[in-house]
């Protein structure tokens, strides 16, 4: 639950956020199942998503194999907090960690096979995650639940090391085809959307390939929480065949760094700096309906300061103030329309809980 002030919105608003149902349990000693179903309020109503659903066989802690829909092996935030807003210190996710259907650029969900493991190594723990899946569709959203648009599958991998001191470092990589062509709707007909002029437009994307390379550093101690993640996203477009428009290859830099200080067991003030930057318009991301209003191409900078107060053992009150600065008109979270302004102030008072 939130109460939001926004400098680009005409009214302050109460907002309800995602309702996240999580199921986890053992089928037997070796087999377990995890499901996460999320109800997300939108301007049009409520959208429902199966965010994760996988069955896992654990041979030993070093080797667990799962099949289903899961979060991709991209850094720390995506594989740690999932959809649980109570679990992270801030009210909002970093821009680069937003989900595909909420303006996010990274492929944070995938459907396929995952292998992961973790175990003691020297004075800490080493872990790895490897995914193979359907990968990207013709546009970034919706992510490919049950159909692959490419003959080759996407692969992603991450390796991390957690030290006893609370320091964790890791690297990750991803590769997927950008299949091009038309996005298909559930009834197997080409998907369409209505543009700002009221025209019906078929959703199609360019053909190419996507590479993502990232690194993260996390420092968690009784006093300090410091999270930093960086991803470099490269889009290479195939010129000539089905992508004769000669879309330019693009490089997108995504970074956030969040620092929190646990003043005592209940209060954590924090600050966060974020930057999403691309030098040129990206054909794949621009192909998604609504993408052009999210601030890119260009540079999107966000500065956040706030505090989290543990109201009880299972709920937290969070307050954050955000300043967003962009090269392009912004899409404001509690307004269905983009604004011509390139800056935005927001303050967000939130009460979240989990049990």
């Amino acid at each position: 639950m939130s109460y939001i002030y926004d400098s680009n919105a005409s009214n302050n608003s109460f907002q309800i956020h995602d309702v996240d149902f999580f199921i986890s349990g053992s089928v037997d000693k070796k087999v377990s199942y995890v499901a996460e179903v999320n109800f997300q309020p939108t301007f049009e109503g409520v959208s429902t998503d199966i965010e994760r659903s996988y069955i896992q066989y654990e041979i030993n802690p070093w080797f667990k194999i799962a099949i289903g829909r899961f979060h991709t092996a991209l850094g720390y935030w995506n594989d740690t907090y999932h959809h649980g807003s109570y679990l992270y210190t801030s009210v909002t996710r970093p821009l680069m960690e937003r989900f595909e259907d909420s303006g996010g650029l990274l492929p944070v969900h995938n459907t396929g096979i995952e292998i992961r493991g973790k175990g003691a190594f020297h004075d800490g723990n080493i872990g790895y995650i490897f995914n193979i899946g359907n990968g990207r569709g013709p546009v970034k959203d919706p992510s490919t639940f049950f159909n692959s648009y490419s003959k080759s599958k996407s692969i992603s991998a991450s390796v991390f090391y957690e030290m006893d001191s609370g320091l964790r470092v890791g690297v990750n990589a991803w590769r997927s085809e950008l299949p091009g062509g038309a996005l298909m709707a559930a009834d197997s007909t080409p998907a369409t959307y209505t543009d700002s002029n009221g025209n019906t437009v078929q959703v199609t994307g360019p053909k190419g390939s996507e590479y993502i390379y990232g690194a993260h550093m996390v420092y968690n101690t009784p006093e300090i929480e410091w999270l930093t993640e960086y991803d470099l996203m490269l889009h290479h477009y195939y010129i000539g065949s089905s992508n004769a428009d000669g879309s330019k290859d693009t490089t997108i830099n995504l970074l956030y760094s969040q620092f929190g200080y646990h003043v005592n067991s209940v209060l954590t003030p924090f600050v966060r700096y974020e930057i999403d930057a691309t030098s040129t318009a990206d054909a794949y991301l621009n192909a998604s309906p609504g993408y052009k209003a999210t601030g890119l191409p260009g540079t999107l900078r966000q500065y956040i300061a706030g505090a989290r107060y543990e109201l009880s053992a299972s709920s937290a009150l969070k307050l954050e103030v955000t300043y967003l600065n962009s090269n392009a008109p912004l899409f404001i979270t509690n307004s269905p329309n983009p604004t011509s302004n390139k800056t935005d102030w927001q303050s967000n008072l939130n009460w979240s809980f989990a049990w």
Binding site: Y5, S7, Y86, G166, P222, N264, Y309, E310, L319
Partner: protein, 143 residues
């Protein structure tokens, strides 16, 4: 910008800063008699409580914890796990969300209740304040 928000945040933060009551605590490790150890290092214990080690001789370990609402839980969790009781609960929730743990640990509303649950639950382990009567649980010596 709404200045009242900032003023309120500042006042809340200042008042809470002086509310810090963390202190070091001596603790006792209790285990169900089915756990095949009588001694443990502090580092091994931390690995179990952090759910990085989930088995003893291929048998699942069950963590039993003091409820975060008990005043002594903070100091004990800080000493044993390096985090406050609320942080520990959040940490275990993250492990559940990751599929590492099936559920967050069973909790007891007092050290005696935790000891009783450890005595009754096969494969369980817990940390409680020094001086707690173990009941049917056994005391595991810290190496």
């Amino acid at each position: 910008m709404n200045k009242n928000y900032l003023k309120l945040t500042f006042l809340v933060m200042i008042s809470l800063y002086f509310n810090n009551s963390s202190a070091k605590a001596e603790f006792l490790v209790l285990a169900n008699p089915s756990i095949p150890i009588n001694e443990i290092t502090k580092s091994e214990l931390k690995q179990i409580l952090l759910a990085n080690k989930t088995e003893f001789e291929k048998k699942k370990v069950t963590i039993i914890a003091l409820s975060p609402d008990i005043p002594e839980a903070d100091a004990i969790d800080q000493e044993a796990m390096g985090m406050s009781a609320v942080q520990a609960k959040k940490y275990w929730l993250i492990k559940v969300f990751n599929g590492t743990l099936e559920t967050t640990p069973i909790t007891g509303d007092s050290a005696d209740e935790v000891a009783e649950k450890v005595g009754e639950t096969k494969g369980s382990i817990a940390v409680v304040a020094k001086g707690t009567k173990p009941g049917k649980a056994k005391i595991v010596k810290l190496k």
